[in-house]
Amino acid sequence: MGFRSNFASFLLFIIAPLSTLILHICVGKYPLAPTIIPTLLIEKISGSTEHALEQLVFFNIRLPRAIMAALFGATMGVTGASLQSILKNPLVSPYTLGISSGAAVGAALSLAFNLGAFSTEASAFTFALLAAFLTLTISRVRGSLSPVSIVLAGVIVSALFQGALTLIQIMAHPENISAIVGWMAGRLNAVTWNHVLLSTPLALAGIIGVVLLRWRVYVLSMGDEEAKALGINVTREKIIIIVLASLAVSSVVTAAGIIGWVCLITPHLTRLIIGSDPKKMLPASLSLGAAFLLVADILAKSAWSYEIPVGVVATLAGAPLFLYLLRRSMRVYGG
């Protein structure tokens, strides 16, 4: 395992997400030749409607989906890496805090009782944050905000919300049950500019906040006692990071459902490529997370004649990859 030069970093940070983004925009069911894209841009600015249909497909369908995929992947990559760091646990993800179960309950409540399209988003977001807040509160009740107590609290909260979810599904109208299941599977095919505009502010705020705090994230990874001895207010910093992560994850999960594996696998993939460099770890996870989900979504939308939920592709592709990475990194961890 080496600490490759800045060239590898450059490759990772910039080229990977950019190239996959471009590929994502160029691929789709509607025959849109990549060469026409510059023309479309010009037309959009000039107001021409010569290629109205192509413009519609490109600007209203492809673009928001690509941006959402990149945003979601980046969010999960960076929050996954930072939570693994401060909880000293390479198997932890933002979902461990109960965010996914909370969002699912929120969405399910809205879908089960037909409360209207917009409130599904609001409901999912609210309950996702509620779950995160509950996790933090419960872990404080046990005394400290130690990594173990946070994970335990998260498990408890997740179980609680899972139970509530099952209850809702039982009480829901049968026609709506599949809507709930579909929402949870995580899909990007229904993403519109509304979704992008709703999720981007908080997601960006959360991501940027965490990346700015990456040195603190690193120091916290060495243990509460040692971080305290280095002058850090451990409890406060942990809460800030968890809150930032929760806000970001809640907003993207609200728009696209629960897409797994990106948050688990991205930090390990990143570590394998650039090593455990505290300065580069979080920004690299951001880029790689975006690239990973973009690739998964490219497959989800074009590999078969119909759409596969991107969460399924991410898991199916991610699980064996994760296994392989784990085996390789065990050699390094083992020392």
């Binding site: 600490f3 760091s85 700015l212 040195w215 305290k228 001895a229 090593g275």
Partner: protein, 265 residues
């Protein structure tokens, strides 16, 4: 720098761990807190670095009450080396050491080139410069301990607190660590370390604090404080001590060896 402790009392729930501890420690000394398990030595050390808050009593660094000092300012003065450290991820040694510069960084700041230079110097100081680029999961127990000491040194502290710095190290590494600490004390650092092996304490400390049941039962020059009576009092073991004159860098030192009297059946 003088550490002043006055009437320090600490309870774990309702179990007293420190009772009215008072003493004064000057800098430039390698001071060891010696005592059996449960004597309160680790508790005292952790109170000194503010990891534990005492129920009563005061600790002053020079004239400053330590609990009144801002956390990062305190961390600029006091370096702490824990007894155990489990590496969460394979960070490079130099990155681990430079994390000692954190007290000088604001919340959003990253370490600068200057900080990395200081980290390198700290590594060189303890003779581990060659380890800088290694992932620290691949270090031996002794090397890891030294790297953690380097991290504490990167804080450029005036005080160094170490919890059982020679524990779990093989013979060679015990000596390496002790040599490093002695050199640092010579450079003017105030070093306090807990220790449970009376031989190490006797051989290498300048001063020793003897603790039993949360109280200090003796404090003074190592070769005076450690003798057959005090060892019997602390550990309940009969020993014989042998003194040796030892010329050590122009300083006359008397080394004491403690030999337990084994029971023959």
């Amino acid at each position: 720098m003088i550490i002043t402790i006055k009437d320090l009392t600490f309870y774990y729930n309702s179990i007293p761990a420190l009772r009215n501890v008072s003493l004064k420690i000057p800098s430039g000394r390698l001071v060891t807190i010696l005592g059996p398990n449960g004597s309160g030595k680790t508790t005292l050390l952790k109170c000194l670095c503010r990891l534990l808050k005492p129920r009563a009593g005061y600790i002053y660094f020079d004239e400053q009450l330590i609990w009144r000092v801002e956390p990062s300012r305190f961390a600029q003065q006091v370096g702490y080396v824990p007894q155990t450290h489990s590496p969460p991820f394979p960070y490079r040694v130099i990155d681990v050491v430079v994390s000692g510069r954190t007290p000088y960084l604001s919340a959003l700041e990253m370490p600068s080139k200057k900080d990395y230079e200081i980290a390198h110097q700290a590594l060189e100081l303890i003779g581990c410069g060659h380890l800088a680029e290694r992932p620290y999961t691949q270090l031996s127990g002794g090397e890891l301990r030294l790297v953690l000491i380097a991290r504490a040194l990167a804080q450029q502290p005036e005080v160094l607190l170490l919890d059982e710095p020679t524990s779990n190290l093989d013979f060679k590494n015990k000596i390496v660590v002790v040599n490093v600490l002695k050199n640092l004390a010579k450079r003017g650092l105030l070093i306090v370390a807990t220790e449970h092996d009376p031989n190490i304490a006797a051989m290498f400390s300048d001063e020793v604090i003897l603790m039993k049941n949360g109280r200090i039962i003796a404090y003074g020059e190592a070769h005076e404080v450690i003798n057959e009576d005090t060892i019997k009092d602390l550990y309940g073991v009969d020993v014989e001590t042998i003194s040796l004159e030892n010329h050590d860098n122009n300083r006359n030192r008397r080394l004491k060896f403690i030999i337990p009297k084994l029971q023959h059946s």
